[in-house]
Symmetry: C2
Subunit: 189 residues, 2 copies
């Protein structure tokens, strides 16, 4: 049996490479979706495929890394909105933020709702971060009677992610309208 081996701090080139891969992935994902060939990412990052898989064994790890910053910002925004605006409006505004996060990046909506084994992790991990924030918005809205439905945060966040899927021959405004109808159904007029 081995105890935790002689630990040494991570090599600096490894750190640089990880950053380069995330940056390249961000660009490639935006263009070609999260199913883009690995080689496209590694070529752009200037590393070998092995390097990518060492840092991000599953595709979901890479997707999560790409989104981490924006997810955090979105969660924080929810907290801010919870106290700043009227509950009903806060919800609408937050939905718009979430929409900007998901719908404007080709393939990201698909990643969030995929049942592909390599991506299954990411939906839940994103929700773990965002659900509590959204739930507090929902609770506040429900207390003031602004909410009609029984739906919990998971339902809302799932519906939004689904309605963000790119639709052939349509721009993001199409999705925006779908979401508007959904929110309309959620909030009491």
């Amino acid at each position: 049996m081995t105890t935790t081996g002689p630990s040494r701090r991570q090599r600096s080139d490894a750190q640089q490479n990880a950053i380069a891969v995330v940056k390249a992935a961000k660009e490639v994902f935006a263009r070609g979706g999260v199913d883009a060939p690995a080689k496209e990412i590694t070529d752009l990052a200037g590393v070998g495929v092995g390097t990518m898989y060492r840092h991000f064994p599953r595709r979901s790890d890479l997707v999560a890394a790409v989104m981490a910053n924006e997810i955090d910002a979105c969660a924080d925004a929810a907290q801010a909105l919870a106290t700043a605006a009227k509950p009903g409006e806060a919800l609408t505004q937050w939905a718009e933020l979430y929409f900007d996060l998901v719908a404007t990046k080709r393939g990201l909506a698909a990643a969030l709702t995929s049942d592909d084994p390599g991506l299954q992790e990411i939906g839940p991990s994103v929700r773990d971060r965002l659900e509590p924030a959204l739930q507090s918005l929902l609770d506040a809205a429900r207390r003031t009677g602004a909410i009609h439905s029984e739906l919990e945060a998971k339902g809302v966040i799932t519906a939004l992610a689904l309605l963000c899927h790119p639709v052939p021959d349509e721009g993001v405004d199409f999705n925006r309208r779908l979401i508007a109808v959904f929110l309309n159904g959620l909030l009491v007029p």
Copy 2:
């Protein structure tokens, strides 16, 4: 240049094989989604892969063949509902039919909204069949003031298809609730 060659009627074994492939695909799609390996379908059908690709060059051709009957039935049902029920209810009832068609078949919702080149055809082809029927329901509902939104048939049918996507760890009732909220937003209370 060649004129249309000496035409002869299709061989009977070819017809049988095509039918066998569709039948097998129906079963495999229901289990494993529309991205199931081709070999799984051909093995079940008892034919070689070449046979399948000859009859159905793109995956979407096969999916369309599998669904053709049910799509027709769903479109006809819309026509019937248009005259039978109150416009608002007719819409809700038709949505339930569409839901049964799409949500209960794993992966079919994904096929309808995929941007995979091999599947792009099927969303439109289904919509071409279903949109006119739904549009007449929408128009009727709008005439009686039961409809709130500006959304056209394409928007409604797209939203329904999206909200039918299987959600990990949740059953179809989860999707049903999402759709209920959407319809609630579509119809004036």
